[in-house]
């Protein structure tokens, strides 16, 4: 049955149930992912992590959440009260909204009703996710501004600049997917990955998306907005209690969100691994949810791994990386992809396709060698030439290694 | 009609190269000339390939077209930028790219000491592109673009050394004279459009037989004016001598071989107009005859080697124009003469350049003499060109010029005798002044300073000369053997559709006559220039004085055109100042007074301005509201 047919016949209550289900999944995923992250990072540092509340510390996040909610709610005197309250709400709302178009499962039986675990399927679904993400930035910017103090303002500006910049790279990386799937709807993109997942055929896009999704969610090593050494807590420095908890929630739901988008766009969505497709019929189709969640969890583990491994980048390096590496690279990649796509659609002979590919590779290599030689030349020009010794005694220039033995 | 996809490269490549060289600037200094030469050679190769492809086709499918884009589309009026390569254009394409490439090569050496060599080559490429566009366009409008393009390139190249005011003036002069011709062309296009509703060659050709004779004559006259401007024909001939201010390769390429022959091309291309209008043809032959004598006479008195050659060019193009005016067979002979002339005149210009190169840019022939020993290759190649222009068998000029003389005699009646006589006389004078050039330059006693050390030019310079010399020896025979060119051009100009007129003289008689007068001219020149004073004698006849002054062409222009123009301008300026400015000033004063009052609205506040705009919108909307009520 087609997606429209499945979704179009949903009665209102099914939509409500699905919405509720998505909400529950997001919140539970947040609680579990905070716990999982803490446990995993702890193991990477040879620690145990939270293990007190509940079995294996599973309820730790819940306990923290309750604690946060019960804390005193402070609003700074210089804050803009209305905006201060609205900001976290925008953040949270936006991050939940993007789940509307993400298919969590294949065809399932929900209370005797055949449907998909997807709220709606838009022809411009992925674009919609990007739009919602751009609205989500408001939460950060407004939180930073409305706090009425310097650190949050700077943090807010930083993180929104970051999110906007990386959104560009992210959008560009998705263009290749659109070109190959011929659609912007999530279900059509999943269907287009029937033969090969896009993470293989469009590997560069996948890499760019994976990098920019980390930048987009303000996560380590790109968590400059909350660089404790520089900005205290970033945009949420002045926030406390439930409002802070909302930001926390938003951050993790965002992570789950971008991970699910990555799953949908590059890892074949809710489909099983190739060769295991028979599992998709288990539990009346509900087993596809497991596949979907497994892939999301894999992405989340990568997030955690990155955080456990990499040091935080410097802000200017980070922006440079986004604008001068990721974006140009994706532009070039899109050109290549569209060329190949047009060739394949026009049934250009295989030899021509290979020729073009070879040419591109040669061009890239040439560019690389040019850059290398340029670098070498610059290094040469950096060398200090001969210097005359003045009339009075001065220490020798440190041109040689002199190691001093201590004590 | 065949559709080709490669024609556009003929124009695009040199244009791109020119743009690249101009845009890149000094970065391209090192390799710019090589790129330009390479591009030029490439266009030649493309042209040659097209030629062979065309040969392999037959009949109507020989001509090839390529539509580049839809250029103008206004209602029913549609002009596409389409290229047309037919039998006529391919001659020009090969000539332009072939001679052009040789001259590119020549210029590498000739311009090697110039700082702006890259710019020079960029202009050369620009010229090649424009000229190719001119000969490849399939409508008058396309041709017009190329026409203006070569005018621009010529202007840029004549004034290439524009640091000298004289050269800059020469460039301007050429440009203005060309503009007069351009007005003629644009008028011709407009009349054609008004008459036929189209400007494509095919459309005009189809419409020509049904048009009114007056319109055809008008178009023909205007086309002739255009041709006269571009090809330095009477009465717009005065710019060509001054155009020698440009670097010698330019003179060779543009002002001898290619651009100046554009007029011949234009008339040949418009053969359907001239065929249908005897009046226009009469004008053409008149202009041709006048110019051929005019140029020849000027040539006898010039001491500047390049100017002497320029006068010769003028005269030779006069021959061609005359030939085009003689009807269908004349077109083919005109083109034949054009091609051979392209070879030997370019060769001789390059020879002159080579001489100048060896003589520290000295141009006065009275300071040359006995250079044959110092530069043997130059002397030999120049000599071959000389023999060709004289029309000595079996050199190229013999085949082309004699045909023209013959056809002129055969055109019938008094007209035939007059024209034939003019061409014969021209041939004699040609022999005289060309011999004079040879004698003054290569033989006799040495008259140069001790500072000059004449030497043979480098291979890059003499190699093109040799190639061109070979061309001037062989091209005539090759092109006319078995009426090759006449047959080739048949589909375009109907050259075999000749109504057999009565033959006034047999060809052999004409040839004999011509050779006789030529011999006369040669002997006269050798006799007259046994000894040559290093400075021109001042006690000379009125005719010599007149010839030295270019037959008073500049004075004529000044008296007839410039002075009355100045008077008119002065009068207009006075009127403008007193009457029009008076009115304007009154209006201005009034407005000023009003503005002073209204200035208070201009308070510098953007918001006030936007409010005024809003009020304007209010008025507008209110008007609409009222109107639709």
């Amino acid at each position: 049955m087609s997606v429209e047919a499945l979704l179009g016949t949903d009665p209102g209550w099914i939509i409500l149930v699905k919405g509720l289900l998505i909400f529950v999944i997001c919140v539970v995923a947040t609680l579990l992912s905070i716990w999982g992250e803490r446990r995993l990072v702890a193991r990477m540092q040879q620690r145990l992590g939270p293990n007190r509340v509940g079995k294996f510390g599973l309820l730790q996040s819940l306990a923290d959440g309750v604690k946060l909610a019960l804390k005193e709610d402070l609003i700074p005197k210089t804050a803009d009260r209305i905006v201060f309250v609205i900001a976290p709400i925008i953040s949270v709302t936006a991050c939940f909204m993007s789940f509307a178009v993400i298919p969590l499962s294949g065809q399932v039986n929900l209370f005797g009703h055949k449907t998909l675990l997807q709220l709606t399927d838009l022809p411009v679904g992925v674009l919609y996710v990007l739009a919602i993400a751009s609205v989500g930035v408001y939460g950060i910017v407004l939180a930073g501004w409305s706090s009425g103090s310097t650190y949050p303002l700077l943090g807010g500006l930083r993180s929104s600049a970051q999110v906007i910049s990386y959104e560009v790279a992210m959008g560009l990386s998705l263009v290749a997917v659109f070109i190959y799937s011929g659609s912007m709807s999530t279900s059509a993109i999943i269907a287009a990955q029937h033969d090969w997942w896009f993470c293989i055929t469009l590997f560069p896009s996948f890499v760019i998306y994976a990098i920019s999704m980390v930048g987009e969610t303000n996560r380590a090593p790109f968590d400059l907005a909350e660089a404790e050494g520089e900005l205290v807590g970033g945009f949420h420095t002045e926030y406390s209690s439930l409002k802070f908890a909302l930001f926390f929630l938003a951050e993790y739901v965002n992570i789950v969100g971008v991970s699910s988008l990555a799953t949908t766009l590059f890892l074949g969505g809710y489909h099983a691994l190739p060769g295991l497709t028979f599992t998709e019929n288990w539990l009346g189709g509900w087993f596809t949810v497991v596949w979907f969640l497994a892939k999301v969890v894999m992405f989340f583990i990568i997030f955690v791994w990155l955080r456990g491994t990499l040091p935080r980048m410097r802000y200017d390096q980070f922006m440079k990386f986004g604008w001068k590496v990721l974006i140009p690279f994706s532009l070039v990649w899109i050109m290549i992809v569209s060329t190949l796509r047009v060739m394949s659609q026009r049934h250009t002979p295989r030899a021509a396709v290979f020729g073009v590919t070879l040419g591109i590779i040669l061009l890239l290599l040439a560019a690389n060698s040019l850059m290398e030689s340029n670098k070498k030349r610059r290094a040469k020009s950096d060398e200090i030439g001969e210097v005359s010794t003045p009339s009075f005694p001065v220490p020798e220039l440190p041109t040689k290694r002199t190691e001093q033995i201590n004590g | 009609m065949t559709t080709s996809t490669h024609l556009v490269y003929l124009i695009a490549l040199p244009l791109l190269s020119a743009a690249l060289l101009l845009v890149l600037g000094r970065i391209a200094d090192k390799w710019g000339h090589l790129l330009a030469t390479l591009v030029s050679a490439t266009t030649f190769v493309i042209g040659a390939l097209e030629f062979f492809a065309m040969q392999s086709r037959t009949g109507a499918s020989r001509a090839a077209t390529q539509k580049i884009f839809e250029w103008i589309s206004v209602g029913a009026f549609k002009v596409d930028a389409t290229l047309l390569l037919d039998q006529l254009s391919i001659c020009f394409v090969l000539l332009i790219t072939g001679v052009g490439t040789l001259i590119h090569i020549y210029s590498i050496a000739y311009m090697s000491h110039d700082h702006d060599r890259r710019r020079f080559f960029a202009y050369l490429n620009l010229f090649i592109a424009a000229m190719l566009l001119l000969v490849l366009g399939n409508s008058y409008l396309n041709l017009y673009v190329g026409w203006e393009g070569v005018g621009l390139a010529s202007y840029l190249l004549i004034g290439f050394w524009n640091q000298k005011p004289v050269y800059a003036t020469a460039a301007k002069k050429a440009f203005v004279a060309n503009r007069v011709g351009d007005v003629g062309l644009s008028l011709a296009i407009m009349i054609a459009f008004a008459q036929f509703g189209t400007v494509s060659f095919d459309g005009v050709k189809a419409g020509a037989p049904h048009a009114s004779p007056a319109a055809l004559t008008a178009i023909g006259a205007m086309l002739l004016l255009a041709a006269a401007g571009k090809s330095a024909q009477f009465p717009l001939q005065s710019w060509l001598g001054d155009a020698m201010a440009g670097p010698t390769p330019v003179s060779a390429l543009i002002h001898a071989a290619t651009m100046v022959t554009a007029g011949v091309y234009l008339i040949t291309r418009s053969n359907f107009i001239f065929d249908a209008s005897p009046n226009a043809r009469l004008m053409v032959v008149t202009v041709g005859a006048i110019t051929l004598l005019f140029g020849a006479i000027i040539g006898t008195a010039k001491d500047d080697i390049k100017k002497a050659l320029a006068a010769s060019t003028m005269s030779q193009i006069g021959y061609m124009i005359l030939a085009t005016g003689l009807g269908p067979i004349g077109y083919a002979f005109a083109i034949l003469h054009l091609l051979t002339h392209g070879f030997f005149k370019a060769g001789m210009f390059l020879g002159a350049g080579s001489v100048m190169h060896g003589m520290n840019d000295e141009v006065n022939m009275r300071r040359y003499g006995a250079l044959a020993k110092a530069m043997p290759i130059t002397a030999v190649t120049f000599g071959l060109g000389y023999l060709a222009i004289l029309g000595v068998p079996p050199f190229a000029g013999f085949y082309s010029k004699d045909k023209i003389i013959e056809t002129a005699f055969n055109s019938g009646g008094t007209k035939g005798i007059l024209l034939g006589g003019a061409t014969l006389l021209g041939a004699a004078i040609t022999a005289f002044y060309m011999t004079r050039v040879i004698v003054l330059t290569f033989t006799g006693s040495k008259r140069w300073d001790d500072k000059a050390h004449p030497h043979e030019s480098p291979i890059l310079m003499w190699a093109p000369m040799v190639v061109l010399a070979v061309g001037s020896v062989a091209s005539g025979f090759l092109l006319s053997s078995g009426s090759a060119l006449v047959n080739w051009l048949q589909p375009v100009v109907n050259s075999q559709n000749v109504v057999a007129g009565e033959e006034l003289m047999k060809p052999i008689v004409v040839s004999g006559l011509a050779l006789g007068v030529v011999l006369l001219g040669v002997l006269l020149a050798i006799f007259k220039y046994r000894t040559v004073p290093t400075s021109a004698p001042t006690q000379v006849s009125v005719f010599t004085k007149a010839a030295r002054k270019d037959l008073y062409q500049d004075s004529f222009n000044e008296a007839v055109l410039m002075r009355p123009g100045q008077k008119l301008t002065a009068g207009l300026v006075l009127t403008d100042y007193k009457v029009i400015d008076g009115i304007v000033r009154t209006v201005g004063w009034t407005l000023g007074a009003i503005s002073t009052a209204m200035r208070k609205i201009q308070n510098g506040f953007v918001r006030s301005y936007s409010l005024l705009m809003l009020l304007g919108v209010l008025v507008l909307v209110f008007t609409i509201w009222l109107v639709t009520l």
Binding site: I15, L122, P123, V124, Y138, V387, P390, V394 | F605, I624
Partner: protein, 260 residues
């Protein structure tokens, strides 16, 4: 909400409900933008108006345009406004007192006049009360339909607009960055410049006053290792003020250098 909007595009009554709820809110927000003293509040209210319009677009079968409206206007343009507001620091409340006489009254009257006339014109218009609907135009999908229009009929305009975009971006960069075209000389650059100066004397930086000298007052020049005074060691401010003692008094005699 999106789903709802999609639904109502196809039926009449829900669209009316949507319109009569969101329309007045949009008008109120626009009015709020007009009268709020804080520019940030204005920006937020405007952003909401734009989102409302996006929903209206979607309700009118312009799905792609609706999403693009959110991306472009809400996501980029309004975000840019917020950025500038915060970066420039004009986020404090504006004074709403009118300074130009008659400006406010005139403009409100004029604008209301324009609005009233427009409304009246729309009311009288013969076309516009019925619709043809986009079902036919959108038969291959809204995005595909738009793409076909854009890349065939309007491709020239599309290219021109893209050129405009690039030009605008360049222009903005030139305007905003003109002061920063040259990279600032950093410590590293200065250090390299010192070593490149050709003499080792400069490499270590300027000596501080009083070093090796007989006194350590700020107006006493440092002594270089050969005993000569280093005038560069004294602050230029002191020099300008004239608070300086002749420096050669403090130089060591040649004999003293020997002893040392």
């Amino acid at each position: 909400m999106l789903n709802l909007a999609l639904e109502v595009g196809r039926t009449q009554t829900p669209e009316a409900i949507l319109f009569w709820i969101l329309g007045p809110i949009a008008v109120l927000c626009a009015l709020g933008m007009l009268i709020s003293a804080k520019a940030v509040h204005s920006a937020l209210l405007l952003a909401w108006v734009m989102i409302t319009l996006a929903i209206f677009y979607i309700a009118q079968d312009a799905l792609f345009l609706g999403i693009v409206q959110v991306v472009v206007y809400t996501g980029a343009v309004m975000m840019l406004f917020l950025f500038i507001l915060m970066l420039v620091g004009v986020d404090s409340a504006d004074s709403l007192v009118e300074t130009i006489k008659g400006q406010r009254t005139t403009s409100i009257v004029a604008a209301v006049g324009v609005g009233g006339l427009l409304t009246s014109l729309i009311g009288r218009a013969t076309i516009g009360h019925t619709e043809v609907g986009l079902a036919l135009a959108n038969v291959n999908g809204n995005v595909q339909g738009l793409a076909e229009e854009l890349f065939t009929k309007y491709v020239w305009a599309f290219e021109v607009v893209s050129a405009l975009l690039i030009t605008a971006a360049l222009g903005a960069m030139v305007l905003a960055q003109s002061q920063n075209i040259k990279s600032r000389t950093a410590q590293r650059d200065r250090s390299i410049a010192r070593f490149r100066s050709g003499s080792l004397a400069e490499t270590a930086g300027l000596p501080s006053s009083g070093v090796y000298a007989r006194h350590n007052a700020v107006d006493v020049p440092a002594l270089l290792p050969d005993g000569s005074a280093a005038p560069t060691s004294i602050s230029r401010t002191l020099e300008a003020r004239g608070d300086i003692i002749k420096s050669d008094v403090f130089e060591l005699e040649a004999s003293e250098v020997e002893e040392n």
